[in-house]
Symmetry: C2
Subunit: 146 residues, 2 copies
Amino acid sequence: MRGKTIDPEDWLTAVDESGFRATTVQETLIDIFARVEYPLSAEQAWDVARLARPKTGRATVYRTVEKLENLGLIRRVHGYQGCSYFVPTLPELMMLFICLDCGRAEYLDSQPLDELIKQSEDSSGHHITDSRLQLFGACADCQQNA
Amino acid sequence: MRGKTIDPEDWLTAVDESGFRATTVQETLIDIFARVEYPLSAEQAWDVARLARPKTGRATVYRTVEKLENLGLIRRVHGYQGCSYFVPTLPELMMLFICLDCGRAEYLDSQPLDELIKQSEDSSGHHITDSRLQLFGACADCQQNA
DNA sequence: CTCCCTGCAAACTGTTTGCAAGTAC
DNA sequence: GTACTTGCAAACAGTTTGCAGGGAG
C-alpha cells in the first residue's frame, strides 16, 4: 500500500493469536495482500497465489480471504470495479482513494471524515456506527503524465 | 424515500427523452423505485413487479434496472446487505444513511461532503471526480424505540 | 491422536445472453 | 413496417459447500 508499509509478520501473529493455524497457504496470501498497491479480488488472489504455490485450491483462497476480512486485516473495496476487491486495512485510516487511471489505492487522512460524521449525527439525530467512504479520480502522478 | 418525494411522471419523461420507449414494465418498475423507503435488489424488484404484473420476466427487470441506473434515476447502494441494492437518486444529495435496525434509507445534506472532498484534494494533490459515502447506524426513531 | 486446514468437485445464486414473439411508434 | 422490448430458457461467473485426505499442534 502506498505511503505506508505493512509487516507480514504482524499479520501472521494476528492470525496466530486468533486461534487459527499458521499454514503455508495463509502465509502466501498474507504476503500477497500485505504488499498490493491495487485492490485485489479473491479470484485474482488465487491466480497470484498459484504462481508461488501451484496446487493452491480456489476454495481455500476464498476461505482465507474471508478469514482475513473477519480479522479486520483486509477490507472490502466498494465501487467502480465491483464490490469484491480487497485492500489491506490500515488502522484508523478509513478514507480510501482509488485512481481510475492507474488503479492504485491510497489511504487519506480520515480526520475530516470523523468531523463530517459528528456533524451529520448532530443535524440528523441518527447514531452512526460505521461508514463507507471511497473517493475516485485521478491521482497526482496520473494528472502530471496526462 | 424519506423526507422527500419523487414524481414518477418526471421519471417517465426522463426515460422517454432518453430515446427509450415507455412500456408497462418500465412504468411498473419506475413506480416501485420511486416509492421505496428501503434499498431494493433487482431480484426483490422482480418479486414486487410480479404482484402488479404477474408475467413480468426476470431478465426484463434486470435490464430495466440497468437502464434506470445508467440514466441516473436510481443509484447502487454499497454496504452491509451487499452491493446490489438500489435507491432512487435525489439530485445533489449524495450522502446516504441506512439504518441497520429498520433498514430504511435516508439522504442527508451533502454539503459537508463537498467540503471534505475539497479539503482532501488540496492535501493530497489528487483530483477527485466521484465519491461513495454511506453511513450506517441507528436512526432517530429506532433509538427511541430501543 | 485430534482437530483444523486443504484440494477437489459439485452445488448454488445472482446476473447476463440468445432468440423468437410481441408491441410502441 | 421497423426497431426496440419482452419472456423464456439456457449459459455464465463468482462464490459456497461437502467430503475425504493431509498436516499442525
